[in-house]
């Protein structure tokens, strides 16, 4: 998501000036995405340049509000109508780390998995605590943002469970953790994947 579309969505409610936009943005994302006022004004400048918003005359307090234009409304409609592509998201460091852990000698992969699982569950406890404290219907958008994080974290834990099961199946029960290789015997620690191929 871009800040650009977030601001357009907020301006669809009615004209607002910079600080109002920043506050409304943070409220609707539950503070999960803090903005600085500079980002807001830079983005408003680009939106105005592209005719997606229009600056209104300053009010008595010297604040300049912006309103969405028909082109801005069309852009916003298009944004809501377009699914977010998974390939546009950053690469998953965890998946890469796990792939490397499995193919690196001497790494206790189950310990890596458990350490991640524990950390993710801990994060979920925190999200849940926040969610439990937000109970009003007025907080719906905020709760749904928290839910998104919870479901993503849950998916990660399920994937970690899946990795562990796959690892156990690929590793003989008498050698749950491959020992680190030694100088005398660099091949002392066959990797789980290699073992699986041998059997």
């Amino acid at each position: 998501m871009s800040i650009k579309h977030g601001l357009l969505a907020l301006l669809e409610r009615g004209p607002m000036y910079g600080y109002q936009l920043r506050t409304a943005f943070e409220e609707s994302t539950g503070g999960t995405w803090p903005l600085n006022i500079g980002q807001v004004y830079t983005t408003l400048g680009r939106l105005e340049r592209d005719d997606l918003v229009r600056a209104l005359p300053e009010n008595d307090g010297g604040q300049r509000s912006y309103e969405i234009t028909p082109a801005g409304r069309a852009e916003l409609t298009m944004w809501f109508a377009t699914p977010v592509s998974r390939t546009d998201r950053p690469r998953d460091e965890l998946a890469i780390k796990l792939a490397l852990a499995i193919t690196t000698r001497g790494v206790d992969v189950r310990a890596v998995l458990q350490s991640q699982r524990s950390a993710t569950v801990r994060t979920m406890q925190e999200y849940t605590r926040l969610k439990a404290s937000a109970n009003d219907a007025a907080d719906l958008s905020w709760r749904l943002v928290i839910d998104a994080m919870l479901f993503q974290a849950e998916a990660e834990v399920r994937w970690l469970d899946h990795c562990e099961t796959a690892l156990i199946r690929a590793t003989p029960p008498d050698l749950p953790y491959p020992p680190a290789p030694t100088a005398d015997n660099p091949a002392a620690a066959p990797l789980p994947t290699e073992r699986a191929h041998q059997s």
């Binding site: 803090p34 458990q114 524990s118 801990r122 979920m124 925190e126 994080m149 849950e154």
Partner: protein
């Protein structure tokens, strides 16, 4: 006072070559106001731990104390009384009696424990109100949705003075919103002073716990407790 304590609990099913170690030296303390979630793969000993904590199964060695009393030292009769009075169970399989109404199901443990029918009904109605179902008191389980039945089961588990609530996958096949309301009820009861143990394979449910223990091959391999600054965590993790 500690509500539940497991001391070096071992549980082996079967003997000889076919013996299976379900628990291999588990120590656990659960205090009032504390909800502990137990996670682990299938066969890791989660349900055995819960059954032993609730006096439904006995450890091979070790001890189990509920409110300071060793379950192993109790006679069958005293153990049954303790289970009725002090321990509430919520299982995936609801075990509601289909021939009894909701309020009768909830009142049953109280009546078995010697309460008059009238008094038991009054307390049971209060428990049904707590779970948001006072108007369905006189319905039979078959005339209720799965979520409503689970709420009745929770009311039955929480009725009276239960100090220890044990839940095994309590949300079962409920949809995520209904499942969450079940977790909220459990959480509320624990916040009111009970001790809770929740066995689950769903991390989202474990998120409601104060502490999450991870079992593997009958051994606690890790514990997760919450951090202190949730808001900071959100800002750091959520910022892009």
């Amino acid at each position: 006072m500690t509500v539940l304590q497991l001391k070096a609990v071992h549980r082996t099913h079967g003997t000889g070559a076919t013996a299976v170690k379900a628990l291999a030296g588990v120590d656990l303390i659960v205090n009032p106001g504390e909800l502990v979630a137990v996670m682990g793969p299938s066969g890791s000993g989660k349900s055995t731990l819960l059954n032993i904590a609730g006096g439904l199964d006995r450890p091979s060695t070790g001890d189990v104390l509920v409110e300071g009393r060793s379950l192993l030292s109790l006679s069958k009769r005293d153990l049954a009384a303790l289970r009725r009075r002090s321990i509430g169970y919520v299982f995936q399989d609801l075990n509601l009696l289909r021939s009894l109404t909701a309020v009768e199901n909830v009142a049953l443990p109280l009546e078995l424990d010697g309460s008059s029918v009238r008094k038991a009904r009054k307390v049971a109605l209060q428990a049904l109100t707590e779970v948001g179902l006072p108007e369905l008191a006189d319905r039979f389980p078959d005339d209720m949705s799965g979520g409503q039945q689970q709420r009745v089961a929770i009311a039955r588990a929480l009725v009276g003075e239960r100090r220890l609530v044990l839940a095994d996958e309590p949300t079962g096949a409920l949809d995520s919103q209904t499942g969450e309301s079940v977790l909220r009820l459990l959480r509320a009861r624990v916040d009111a002073g009970a001790a809770g143990v929740l066995v689950t394979h769903e991390a989202r449910h474990a998120g409601w716990a104060d502490r999450v223990i991870f079992l593997r091959d009958g051994v606690i391999v890790d514990t997760a407790g919450p951090l202190t600054q949730a808001e900071d965590l959100l800002t750091v993790d959520g910022a892009r």
